[in-house]
């Protein structure tokens, strides 16, 4: 029999989880006591839940904290087809052998990393069950398929994010899961602070950033009235980046803010009008 060749191995390497520490400080502007609370939770071995609308700095915050605490960060963007095996790991058949491959969660537990499960409610229901033993005093991950019980080292930390603006009842987080976490509320920062962030991240001047934030604030009033959610800071940063490259502000905002937000013609046009009015 031939041994598995390099391409089958590389197929596997693609699913292995690397553990790296961030070298440079990710820019994060604190808006409250979230840094202190997170650090305290990390020191106490408690899991943390970040709640808030999309694009308001949750992911950036975790990156920043991982850098601060000097721990590797493993981020998993959850989606509706994410299974327990995708998190924990699986046996793969390579040629005639079976090879065990740690999933990102297992890799993070073994390596004492911060594991960030982004938008956890998107994942399949059974996935939330595997994190339960990691979130109480056991702090352990049972890997059933291998009959292994991995106790998490002190540096391991579980962080999840959750957008309460979700409208689907099928994606509500159960109280039994929620109550295992220290929770931090995230929201769009105050206008001046947000303008500072947009200017810094997008590379635009303060005046342009202020206008972008004003536009963002206006769109947020349309939540529930044409929009599921207003423009998050991320969209404003995207528009700023386009403007910084020389694109006309109206064009940039249309492409980076209005179009991603709305499909419905009336709402799209209302956003067009707002963009024209603000710039």
């Amino acid at each position: 029999m031939t041994a598995p060749t390099s391409s089958a191995r590389s197929d596997l390497r693609a699913v292995a989880t690397p553990l790296v520490q961030l070298a440079n400080e990710p820019y994060y502007h604190a808006t409250g006591d979230e840094v202190e609370v997170f650090a305290a939770a990390a020191a106490s071995g408690l899991p943390v839940m970040l709640k808030g609308p999309t694009g308001c700095g949750k992911t950036r915050f975790v990156e920043h904290m991982a850098w601060r605490l000097k721990r590797p960060l493993v981020t998993v963007a959850c989606h509706d087809d994410l299974t327990t095996s995708d998190l924990v790991g699986r046996y793969l058949i390579v040629g005639d052998e079976t090879v065990w491959m740690d999933g990102p969660l297992t890799a993070a537990v073994r390596g004492g990393a911060i594991c960030y499960l982004d938008e956890i409610v998107e994942a399949r229901k059974d996935t939330t069950v595997v994190i339960h033993p990691l979130t109480d005093s056991r702090r352990a991950l049972p890997v059933e398929k291998r009959g292994e019980y991995i106790e998490a080292p002190p540096d391991f930390m579980l962080v999840i994010s959750y957008n309460p603006g979700y409208q689907s009842v099928l994606k509500e987080m159960k109280p039994s899961t929620r109550q295992r976490f220290v929770a931090l509320d995230f929201d769009y920062p105050q206008a001046e602070v947000e303008a500072g962030i947009v200017a810094h991240e997008g590379g635009v001047d303060a005046a342009t950033a202020t206008k972008l934030v004003r536009l963002g604030t206006l769109t947020r009033k349309l939540k529930g009235a044409g929009l599921d959610e207003g423009a998050g800071t991320r969209l404003l940063v995207h528009a700023a980046q386009l403007i910084a490259r020389g694109m006309a502000p109206v064009t940039a905002c249309t492409a980076a803010i209005a179009r991603p937000l709305a499909d419905e013609p009336d709402t799209r046009h209302a956003l067009d009008d707002l963009i024209a009015a603000v710039f």
Binding site: L170, K171, K221, A270, A276
Partner: protein, 690 residues
């Protein structure tokens, strides 16, 4: 879309389907023959408008179908504007008005270039509604009429605009006018009394023109602070001011200028002798008397609401309220006559939602809340206004109640035991023909909803050749074996992965049948239910529909439209048709009863969806206002504890004020126009359960 023209028989079939012509013994032959000659795009456009019109009335659709063929054949004919004008006329004056408008539109607009350029109100209404909602944070009332003005609550815009060089310019003009009217209300045009100045003028119309012009100057500058693009559009539209008006414009552009300054400018102008005023294209009318009358009524109403809230809050002993752990309103200062610090500092968070809305509105009307307004005139000051009694109750309840429910009294911080008498009965059957007509009228919509929903259900497709999965992929295994035998490298992707979509979901629809839903709202509710049923049948979720209404706590009625076990059959459809506007809205007890029924269902996810036009309200003063809101909130919290999620679809433009308190920030939708509900309901449901 294929470019092939539709043939007569195809056109006949489409018209027949939309307009039920065969039922009415009409022949689509003539209109179809006229349409056959047209390009496919125009044909589709005509059918599109016929379909839209038919949603309002099949007669209106027929009126358009009969006339469209000959008109659309003319070069450059503005079909969209023509059809919109007909629909608008129908809304305002019925079928005869619509027919007249459709006929004389062509005569009145022989200038086809102008028709292509001009922009009708109806064409921009939706976008302007969104635009103004974003500016104001609340939905605004938009209308069109001969006079362009606002009374401070409703904005009246021109029926159509054709002053700019192209359609885009005319759309911008609509936007500018709408923003200017909004700014008048928002930035205090009606906060001064202009009468002392106006009476000095011989020509009141001329005086109002000047006032409007000066206010335009002031508001343009005000808008420029936050919406420079809009101010630029205004400046471009008006062109430079005449030289003698420049100093006035500059003076009114100062940030601290107010409407009083506009009046002062008028006084000066009057002394030097006023010439002819200029008319910018975004010219608006002012009717200060009407606006101030409304403003006075609004201030009285808001002051009443606010005082009442303060009185109630003072009456509550803070200690007894300590027991209710869910209260998110911290007690306000309870001592003497002083105004709570929260209000003085402009922080309204401590108030219940209706009072907070009133305070915000007051602050806008009065540029702040004067403390003396808030000083309660003693405990007896509050006289709840009596609701118009009208005819007596039409409640179905009589005899022994089917159940008794407790009600939460937030003032006592305690339950009122067995307070509400609930009667459950079968909803009366309505006309069969109505449902059939709705299903035919929305045939296209229903078909597309069913297609989309069936696709949702059919997501259970196996994904082949995966690294991992529940089943072995035999094809992949065979390939791998062959590869191995042949010495090639076998792929490790040997499994089938199945996406499981488990929709273990039970949904209870709770339909508001209170008297205020009479008319459009009731129609919208019923039509939406028909569409919902079609959609949910395609999904296979388990669902029930109940109506609720009542007349005080001793007559709370629940009407069965469809129980969980019932099928969506002719009888159910007739009961949907039979849903009608009845009495009042005592919501808490309905939530308790229906969430009880829902709780008994054997499903993983349970959802209570309310279709309503407004807030909890009942006969007499008690349930209106905070009491009803608090009780309903409590009932929804109880449901939550049972694992039931609640969602509200409301047709109430002031809804956003209190819905977050009841349902939480993300769990409601406000539909500003009842007519839009049927088209949106399926999407709302899909998102809700995606």
């Amino acid at each position: 879309m294929s470019e092939r023209k539709l043939f007569v028989h195809e056109l006949e079939a489409r018209l027949d389907e939309m307009l039920l012509l065969s039922l009415r013994q009409r022949s689509p032959a003539t209109p179809a023959a006229q349409l056959e000659a047209l390009p496919r795009q125009v044909q589709e456009r005509v059918l599109h408008w016929v379909g839209i019109a038919a949603q309002t009335s099949t007669e209106l659709g027929w009126a358009i179908a009969q006339r469209a063929g000959t008109r659309a054949a003319r070069p450059g004919f503005a079909l969209d504007d023509w059809a919109r004008a007909g629909l608008e006329a129908h809304d305002a004056g019925g079928l005869a008005a619509a027919q007249a408008r459709l006929d004389d539109f062509a005569a009145a607009a022989p200038d086809t270039a102008s028709a292509a350029r001009g922009v009708a109100f109806a064409a921009v209404e939706g976008r302007l509604a969104g635009f103004l909602h974003a500016l104001d944070g609340r939905p605004m009332q938009l209308r069109c009429g001969a006079k362009t003005w606002t009374d401070g609550e409703t904005l009246w815009l021109p029926e159509s605009l054709d002053l700019a060089a192209d359609a885009a310019g005319n759309r911008r003009l609509h936007t500018v006018i709408a923003a200017l009217l909004w700014a008048q209300a928002r930035f205090g045009t009606f906060n001064v009394d202009p009468e002392p100045e106006l009476v000095q003028w011989a020509d009141r119309e001329a005086a109002l023109d000047w006032f409007s012009l000066f206010e335009g100057m002031r508001l343009e500058a005000r808008l420029a602070l936050e919406l420079p693009g809009l101010a630029r559009d205004m400046a471009a539209l008006r062109g430079p001011w005449p030289a003698d008006l420049e100093p006035v414009a500059a003076r009114l552009a100062r940030p601290e200028a107010s409407a009083a300054d506009s009046l002062a400018c008028m006084a000066e102008l009057r002394r030097v002798g006023a010439g002819d005023t200029v008319h910018p294209p975004y010219r608006t009318m002012l009717d200060p008397l009407a606006a101030r009358r409304l403003r006075a009524a609004r201030i009285a109403r808001d002051t009443g609401t606010l005082r009442r809230a303060l009185n109630i809050m003072r009456a509550i002993d803070p200690h007894s309220r300590g027991g209710s752990s869910d209260s998110e309103y911290p007690p306000l200062a309870a001592d003497g006559d002083s105004v709570p610090a929260e209000l003085q500092s402009g922080d309204l968070q401590g108030l219940p939602p209706d009072a907070r809305a009133a305070a915000q509105s007051l602050a806008q009307d009065l540029d702040g809340i004067p403390p003396e307004l808030l000083r309660p005139a003693g405990p007896g000051a509050w006289r709840p206004e009596e609701r118009d009694e009208g005819e007596g109750p039409v409640a179905a309840s009589s005899g022994e109640p089917d159940a008794l429910y407790d009600e939460w009294d937030y003032r006592r911080g305690a339950w009122r035991r067995d307070w509400c008498h609930l009667y459950e009965s079968e909803g009366p059957a309505g006309e069969h023909a109505w449902v059939d007509e709705v299903r035919v009228r929305h045939a296209h919509l229903i078909r597309s909803i069913r297609r989309r929903f069936e696709a949702l259900r059919g997501e259970d497709k196996p994904q082949r050749r995966q690294l991992d999965g529940e089943e072995i992929d035999l094809d992949a295994q065979v390939d791998a074996r062959a590869d191995r035998l042949g010495g090639a490298e076998p792929s490790p992707r040997l499994f089938v992965h199945r996406r499981r979509v488990e929709r273990s979901l039970a949904v209870m629809f709770m339909v508001d049948m209170s008297g205020s839903t009479k008319g459009w709202v009731n129609d919208a509710e019923r039509e939406s239910l028909v569409l919902l049923c079609e959609a949910i049948e395609a999904l296979g979720d388990s669902y029930a529909i109940y109506g609720f209404s009542g007349w005080t706590r001793t007559h709370c009625d629940i009407y069965r439209i469809k129980r969980f076990g019932d099928r969506y059959d002719a009888a159910t459809r007739q009961r949907i048709a039979g849903i009608e506007a009845r009495d009042y809205t005592r919501m808490g007890v309905a939530v308790r009863h229906l969430s009880g029924l829902l709780h008994r269902q054997n499903a993983r996810h349970k959802l209570l969806v309310t279709l309503s036009d407004g807030r909890p309200d009942d006969h007499g003063d008690e349930y209106r206002g905070r009491y009803g809101i608090e009780d309903t909130r409590r009932a929804l919290l109880e449901a939550r504890e049972k694992g039931i999620r609640s969602y509200c679809v409301t047709i109430d433009r002031h809804g956003a004020d209190y819905l977050p308190q009841l349902y939480g920030p993300a769990h409601y939708t406000v539909i500003d126009d009842a007519k839009k509900l049927p088209a949106r309901i399926a999407d709302i449901y899909r998102k809700l359960t995606a």
